[in-house]
Every structure is written in structure tokens, then in C-alpha cells.
């Protein structure tokens, strides 16, 4: 397992081989400084090749030069999408139906490839996708130690974590921190990660590609509500970790988890506590007093900035 590789090495070994030859040629010579900052490579058919760096978004020319001008950017061809998708899917789209329904494929290294194309809908549900027009290769980033600050705040006297809800808008580092908390907690505790969207552990063929610790079991692709109940019965965790709660059945499963004496750390999309309380399903969680801590994150000083830690039991929310 290639955990914690230096970024350029990771990029060269785990991303570049999947790219169409033309795109590979363009990116292989990207200066190391930019490789380190690379968060996403976006291929849109007939549009300029786009790179998302940590603090900016840029286009890249056919000769590998970064540019702000869309006109100068290398125009992604249908063949580039076809070849990249062939490598990513192993020419086996039929074996990735669940991934297509979710809209992304996880590749070796835990990196995610978001897809856009023509969706095939059956009985109101997305059944599959074809005629792909966009591939968004999002590079999985591990930041061991990014949860250090929070670790000091979330453990009680028995060294067990408080039931904690981490909230923030998208791209503020919730999942990265959650992963690091799983890694650190599992040094002493038995942890189960319910990874419905394969974002926390980034499993590839069942193996976590990102470090979630030595005592962590991962239930991948499993709906949270079902996974929580199943994990309590089958895996006897001390801590349960899951991402993006928000459905009514999630609140019921969390209740069951707490009744079983299992601690829970979860995340939710919300920009503030007030925002969170406005959402009917999450209101239920507050009524049940399921969580003892709410951590609010932002990008103010970079992803993972802790804005506020609210102790619900003491402050009354």
C-alpha cells in the first residue's frame, strides 16, 4: 500500500499512467512546485485542460505552460477522454455500474475520478452513464497530523471521543480531518468507518488506499444507516466514523449507535451552527441531543481551519 508518498511521486505513479498520452506529455513536465499543489485535473471535451491548484485554478497549454487564458489552454479532444477513461475503467465500464450510479470511480491510491456524461435514468433513479464528456481527477490528499488540534479537544477523561459532529461548507477539509481522526483514534480504539462514498479510506478493490489506522474496519459503499447498524452488530466498534449525514434514516441509526454505547464522529454540510439547526433532519439530531461537540471548519486560513468548537451539553447548543 502506497500510503504517504511524496506528492510528485504519487502523481507520477498513480495518476499519470491513467492519462491519455497527449495529456500525459503535457503534465509529466509540470514543475514540482505545482505538482505539490495539484488538487484536481479536469478534462472537459472540447474545452481547455484545467488544473485546480490549492489556491487557484489555471489552464495549461499544449507545451505544459500554465496560463490564465482559456484560449491558450490545450483543448481536450474526444480521444483524450476515451483513452483516459479506457485506462481508468480498464475498458470495463460494465464492471463499474455502482460507481457510475454514484458518479465517480475510485482508482488505486484512493484518487477519485468524477464523471459527467449522458445519464441513463430508470424508475427515477440514475442507472448508468455513457457518452462521457468530463473527467475530474481529484487527487486524494493525506495530511497526517491535520487532526492533531482537534484530537486534543474531542477526548474525554476515559480517552474516548465525545460524540462529535464536524460541519463546514464543501472543500474545507472535513473528510481529510475525519480520516486523520480515524487514524489517530485507532491506535488505541477499535474504529469502524462507514465509507458510503469511498472518500474517507479511498478503497480500491477492497483495500484502503489512505491510512485510516491499524484498528480500523472499513465498510465501503454501504449506505450509512444500514452500515451503522450492521457495524454495531458485526464488528463491535468503540468508535464509529462516517461522512455527510443528512437523511432521516441517518438520525435513527445514530440513535441506535448511541444507545449501544458506541461513540460517533460524523460530518455534515453546513456553514454554521445556525444553518445546521435550520435543516429539519439535523434539527432532530439536536432534539435527541445526539452530539456533545460540534466543530465548525472553514478555509479562512487554508482548508481545515477550526472556527469554533461548541460543547452542546455545557452551552445548551
Amino acid at each position: 500500500m502506497s500510503i504517504k508518498q511524496a506528492m510528485p511521486e504519487k502523481l507520477q505513479a498513480q495518476i499519470i499512467p491513467y492519462l491519455a498520452p497527449t495529456i500525459k506529455e503535457i503534465l509529466i513536465n509540470l514543475p514540482t512546485a505545482y505538482q505539490n499543489q495539484l488538487e484536481e485535473i479536469r478534462l472537459r471535451m472540447g474545452k481547455p485542460l484545467c488544473l485546480h491548484l490549492m489556491k487557484s485554478e489555471t489552464f495549461i497549454t499544449g507545451s505544459g505552460k500554465l496560463t490564465r487564458s482559456a484560449e491558450e489552454g490545450y483543448l481536450v479532444k474526444e480521444d483524450d477522454i476515451t483513452r483516459t477513461l479506457a485506462a481508468i475503467s480498464g475498458n470495463s465500464v460494465y464492471a463499474l455500474e455502482e460507481e457510475l450510479r454514484r458518479g465517480f470511480i475510485t482508482i488505486r491510491g484512493g484518487h477519485r475520478v468524477g464523471l459527467a456524461g449522458k445519464t441513463i435514468v430508470e424508475n427515477g433513479q440514475i442507472k448508468s452513464m455513457k457518452e462521457f464528456s468530463t473527467l475530474a481527477i481529484r487527487i486524494a490528499r493525506e495530511l497526517p497530523g491535520c487532526g492533531d488540534k482537534l484530537m486534543g479537544q474531542i477526548l474525554d477523561d476515559n480517552r474516548l471521543p465525545y460524540n462529535t459532529l464536524i460541519i463546514s461548507p464543501p472543500r474545507c477539509g472535513k473528510t481529510t480531518i475525519l480520516r486523520d481522526l480515524a487514524r489517530q483514534l485507532s491506535r488505541e480504539l477499535s474504529v469502524v468507518v462507514i465509507d458510503e462514498r469511498s472518500e474517507i479510506a479511498g478503497c480500491f478493490k477492497g483495500e484502503p488506499q489512505l491510512d485510516v489506522g491499524p484498528r480500523t474496519d472499513v465498510m465501503e459503499g454501504c449506505p450509512k444507516a444500514l452500515g451503522i447498524v450492521m457495524a454495531i452488530r458485526a464488528l463491535s466498534p468503540q468508535v464509529l466514523i462516517t461522512d455527510e449525514i443528512g437523511r432521516y434514516e441517518d438520525t435513527q441509526a445514530i440513535e441506535e449507535c448511541l444507545n449501544a454505547g458506541v461513540r460517533i464522529i460524523a460530518t455534515a454540510h453546513a456553514s454554521s451552527l445556525e444553518d445546521l439547526k435550520r435543516r429539519p433532519v439535523l434539527q432532530e439530531i439536536f432534539k435527541q441531543q445526539s452530539f456533545q461537540l460540534v466543530v465548525v471548519l472553514s478555509r479562512r486560513r487554508g482548508p481545515g481551519t477550526i472556527e469554533k468548537i461548541v460543547r452542546l451539553g455545557q452551552t445548551g447548543g
Binding site: Y18, P21, R83, A86, Y94
Partner: protein, 173 residues
């Protein structure tokens, strides 16, 4: 006299051999279409039920296949193995070129097989099943036609070659 006997034998042997070859080719095509049909059926199971990656599915199909079709599946899976970014369509076409060189299948047969390459591996399992079954059904019709042609023409070619040889010899004497 001896020269005439040698000449007649030579002409009859050559035309007879050509006739036998043609007759053999007729049955070879029928057998090859049948083999291709069976292999596509196997490939369908590999895709639809085992959900094996295409490269492995083709390798396994090649393993259970026989000549002259075996080489086709070996070639396609090898092309996919050599370069991961090779679209299945390209690899499939490489296999088709190999089949062309063998001169067993007709252009009509090859067109049916080549059509699979345009979609193989690029759609969901249900579509792959539909496509492979459609190709299988079309190949079955080709096989039937080939068999009919074989029945009606095999004897003609087998004996016709020798008879033509004899006629040419009589005319020359």
C-alpha cells in the same frame, strides 16, 4: 506417351487439389463462425456474471477457444495489456486485422465481429449482453448460410476440381 501421362496426372492433381482446398475452406468457415459464436457466448458470461475486467475476460476466452479464433482473442487481450490507455475499440480492430489475414471469414462475417468492437467494454452490462447476443444471432445466420453453401458446393468442389482437370487434359490431347 509417358509425357502425356505425366502431363495429365499433373493437371488433374493441381485442379483436384485446388477443388479440395476450396471444399475444405467452405467447412473451415462454418467451423470458425461456430467457434466465434461459442467464444462470444463465453465472453458474455465473463462480462455479465463474473464482471471480470475486459483484458482478463478476453484472456480467459482465448484460453477456452480453439484455432483459428483463439489467436483473435489473444491478440486483443495482449493489445490491452501492452498499453492501458488503448481503447478496446482499437485493440479489437487489431484482432480483426489478424482475422482478415487468415482469409477464413467473409467480409460480411468480419463486419459483424468488427461492430462489437465499437461498444465492447464501454457500456453497462445489460447493453454489453444485448450487443453480444445480437452479434451471436447474426453470426448464427451466417453460420447457417455457410453450412448451406457447404452442403451444396462441397461435393461440387471436391469432384469438380478433378473433372475440370480431366477435361482440360482431354482438350489438350
Amino acid at each position: 506417351m509417358l509425357t502425356k501421362v505425366i502431363g495429365v496426372s499433373l493437371v488433374v492433381s493441381v485442379t483436384g487439389w485446388i477443388g479440395l482446398q476450396k471444399a475444405f475452406q467452405l467447412s473451415r468457415r462454418t467451423r470458425a463462425i461456430r467457434q466465434m459464436r461459442m467464444d462470444l457466448d463465453f465472453l458474455e458470461k465473463e462480462i455479465a456474471y463474473a464482471r471480470n475486467p475486459l483484458e482478463e475476460a478476453l484472456k480467459r476466452t482465448a484460453y477456452v477457444s480453439s484455432r483459428p479464433v483463439k489467436g483473435f482473442f489473444e491478440r486483443v487481450s495482449q493489445a490491452l495489456q501492452e498499453d492501458k490507455a488503448t481503447p478496446a475499440r482499437e485493440a479489437w480492430n487489431q484482432g480483426i486485422s489478424q482475422l482478415c489475414e487468415q482469409q477464413i471469414f467473409t467480409a460480411e462475417d468480419l463486419a459483424i465481429i468488427a461492430l462489437i468492437g465499437t461498444r465492447i467494454g464501454t457500456t453497462d452490462a445489460a447493453d454489453q449482453i444485448r450487443m453480444l447476443r445480437q452479434a451471436g444471432a447474426e453470426l448464427k445466420m451466417q453460420e447457417e448460410k455457410s453450412r448451406q453453401q457447404e452442403d451444396s458446393e462441397k461435393k461440387l468442389w471436391s469432384y469438380g476440381g478433378f473433372l475440370v482437370g480431366l477435361m482440360i487434359s482431354i482438350l489438350m490431347i
